[in-house]
Symmetry: C2
Subunit: 494 residues, 2 copies
């Protein structure tokens, strides 16, 4: 074994052999041991690891076990894998935990995985495109115009300037019917869910009760917030027309449904008009409530935006939005458009004074919207994302025509449909290629009964403009070939 | 009864007589009925109410009951009382709730009481003094310098630029010993408490367990957050040296203590050096934890600032601060300086990504601190508040020499000590004079066993510069005279 390779079995800890012979998954034991060794500094950043074949032989493990462990740690950001350079400990990780005070120091583990070479995860707009100049100009106007009381304790509804601007904007762009008195500003979608459902420890929060229907594919983070509030979620099956809302009456009794009508997340279709009216009709007749997550409703490419369901019945739908996709998740501003009967409860949950959304950001955003700059920015980004989408679709049509792409009429991500059984290996292959992305499996409700679908969720908004081409190239290398489902891109033996 | 007076008994609802003859406090019934009548628009803004004597006769109630109800509603902002103009429905209240859809519309009650003529409530800096120019200049520099990743998903620790600036600043100004890795940014003090103890607004929530000691006088809002997280609070008695920390060992077993060492809130003294070391010693020997609420530590007038207790043992003290007093509660930025062993838990409670504190505010504040502009602003405000304090103390010395003022070496408020039994009527008199302020009773822990103290908590930072003189004049009119405790300033018979 060359000098440049670490004698890993030794470095990662003397107990490893013992642990590997104990109960539990050997893969999991190996992953934990490697992670601990990096964290504790026993494996320094940049260290080259032995090929998985060598380590497997050293440890008496199956080659696949070690290859899987490497791929997992690459995906988590602890290791990097580059063609020609082997597998190394990521350099973004600060080591620590040595010496006597190890127990007292914060663990220096990375708060998030080190950035992969190509970030195709969904959910984040292009950070290089934040409209700095327009934002600063709006901030200047907002600061000059703000009355002194804006710098005192804030109304928990949020600034009236912003609520007025939102009421106009949402009516114009999304067909939302409301007035500023029914809008409550918050710090984002998750905050809105917490205000609506309450949190882990009961007291104070929560104006809604469960059980609540959710889509069979969606963000586990959101389901987790509901679960944390003691709200059971009941999965609705999906098809080409979106959520099968007939399940609201046919299935277990629920008090409401959390839906993504404009662009089902993550599979990508809009909720069919008949489903929309059926959902609202269900809410009317049962006293139920719909939560409309309009997370990327502004980004529709192929025809006019699909309006908000809220417009069908403002008293039975809570409309939820934020600037996380349209501007940046760094601006912590979201909004809830509420039925009248929920306003007092949400305000009570929020507290007597504004304790969350910064007032300067609120005033600046209000100016950005009212001045038309927000529209302009959304328009520019829509064109840019549309070009990226087209580039992805074209590349796939040419080089991987056996892969179907769906969910591309709108939004910031596409779903690449894969042959059954190939998703997990494609995700691993992506990690191996330095491509960060997620498979559909990670979004599936654990209680979902509809057939599982294999697919890659490809966010095309995250890379900067100049990095996008290389990211698409890397993605193409991860896809299963047309001739079989076994290729996993890690270069290891079958 | 003149035409201009409302026949109140009729307007406020036909059931009032029935309710008044039922069980429960007549005062409370009357207050609720009046509030509802204003809210529902049956009593329009500006409507002049009958003198309390007339209404008492109409309703068959004791005059004091009605006078108390009026004073309470004035204090809440529903009514206004001006000398010579009688008692009227406040004009700041929008009425509503008429017509068929009353049940569906949000109640148009004011989110906060209408602004009183003179606001001497503690807790808010002068909103007219926000450093708009310096803030905008810092925002411009921060926006220009920010790396693109600042506009992507944020590290839940907060921006490193801000944590670096804070580590330097807090070391220099407050004697805090830390490094940027142990600082976690949040949206304010209440958010910090929720992250530490869990509760309705923080994800996951709660790295600390109760019971926890608190000071016998403090903010009920903070005690409420602990109670909401299921943490029992045990009151520590106070004396001239601050919290009697001997109670940490002598009293019921607690796991930690929430203290205001720089300037006991609200009574105003610093925690004595021997108490500081005793508290830290207690934490060391028992494994307990001190939470140091340094809410106004920068505003000390008569000598060098009293340093943070945290400097005595960074592993046993959580230091908590925010810009709510130094800049504005409109900027939702606070910070926790954590012992190493708590960092991971707090980050886990906060979530994988920054979902709370806006990144632009964080970057701007970092620049404001690093550029020295924050120091300059604090210095300017310290001089201004000190002048206001001197003006208050001088006015009292001259015109109400029987009133003792305490807690004036620091902070943004003073405590006017009153003869026993006079606080409630002084607070009522203040409401009658259009002066918003609070008595000590409102800050007392319900389980406190130390003798109750009578006093008014007078915030001198809230009014604008030009309004301060009139506020002090109005305050002087509310104080009990030297010759007896019965004066209550409402002008009603004794």
């Amino acid at each position: 074994m060359p000098e440049s390779w670490v004698n890993l079995a030794e470095r990662i800890g003397s107990d490893l052999h013992v642990e590997l012979s104990g109960p539990g998954s050997r893969r999991a034991v190996l992953i934990r041991a490697l992670r601990d060794a990096v964290r504790a500094g026993r494996l320094a950043p940049g260290t080259r690891l032995p090929p998985y074949r060598s380590l497997a032989a050293d440890l008496g493990l199956a080659r696949n076990t070690v290859a899987d462990a490497y791929a997992e740690l690459v995906a988590e950001g602890w290791l990097t894998a580059r063609q020609g350079s082997g597998t190394r400990v990521a350099t973004g990780i600060s080591s620590g935990g040595r010496a006597a005070d190890a127990g007292r120091r914060p663990k220096p583990a990375p708060a998030r995985p080190a950035a992969p070479a190509h970030d195709l995860r969904q959910g984040t707009p292009d950070a290089t495109s934040f409209p700095r100049t327009a934002w600063l100009a709006a901030a200047r106007r907002a600061l000059a115009a703000a009355p002194a009381e804006a710098f005192g304790p804030g109304d928990p509804r949020g600034r009236v300037e912003l609520r007025r601007a939102l009421a106009d904007y949402l009516a114009r762009v999304r067909g939302v019917r409301t007035d500023p008195e029914r809008i409550v500003v918050c710090s984002g979608f998750a905050h809105a869910l917490r205000l609506l459902f309450g949190g882990t420890h009961g007291a104070g929060g929560g104006v809604l009760r469960g059980p609540f229907a959710v889509e069979s594919y969606g963000l586990g983070f959101h389901r987790g917030i509901l679960a944390g509030a003691g709200v059971r979620t009941v999965p609705l099956a999906l098809d080409e027309q979106g959520a099968q809302v007939a399940g609201l009456t046919g299935g277990p009794r629920v008090r409401g449904a959390l839906l993504t009508p404009a662009h089902q997340f993550p599979t990508g279709g809009p909720l069919h008009p008949t489903r929309r009216t059926a959902a609202v009709e269900w809410a009317r007749t049962t006293g139920g409530l719909l939560l409309e997550d309009d997370y990327d409703g502004e980004f529709r490419y192929d025809r006019e935006p699909v309006g908000a369901v809220q417009g069908l019945d403002p008293e039975r739908v809570v409309y939820l939005g934020s600037v996380s996709k349209s501007l940046s998740p760094a601006v912590r501003i979201g909004w809830m458009v509420l039925p009248g009967h929920l306003v007092d409860g949400v305000l009570a949950a929020k507290g007597e004074r504004e304790a969350w959304a910064g007032v300067l950001d609120q005033l600046t955003l209000a100016d950005l919207i009212a001045s038309g700059q927000y529209d302009r920015h959304v328009r520019r980004m829509r064109q840019r994302y549309r070009r990226r989408r087209d580039r992805l679709v074209d590349a796939l049509a040419e080089r991987a025509p056996h892969i179907t792409v769906t969910g591309i009429a709108a939004g910031l991500h596409a779903v690449l449909r894969l042959p059954p059984g190939t998703e997990a290996s494609a995700v691993k292959a992506a990690a191996w290629q330095g491509v960060a992305l997620e498979g559909l499996a990670g979004f599936r409700h654990p209680g979902a009964t509809m057939p599982a679908e294999d697919g890659l969720v490809v966010g095309y908004s995250t890379p900067s403009e100049h990095a996008y081409g290389a990211a698409v190239e890397a993605l193409l290398r991860c896809l299963p070939p047309a001739d079989g489902p076994d290729h996993d891109g890690t270069g290891r033996e079958k």
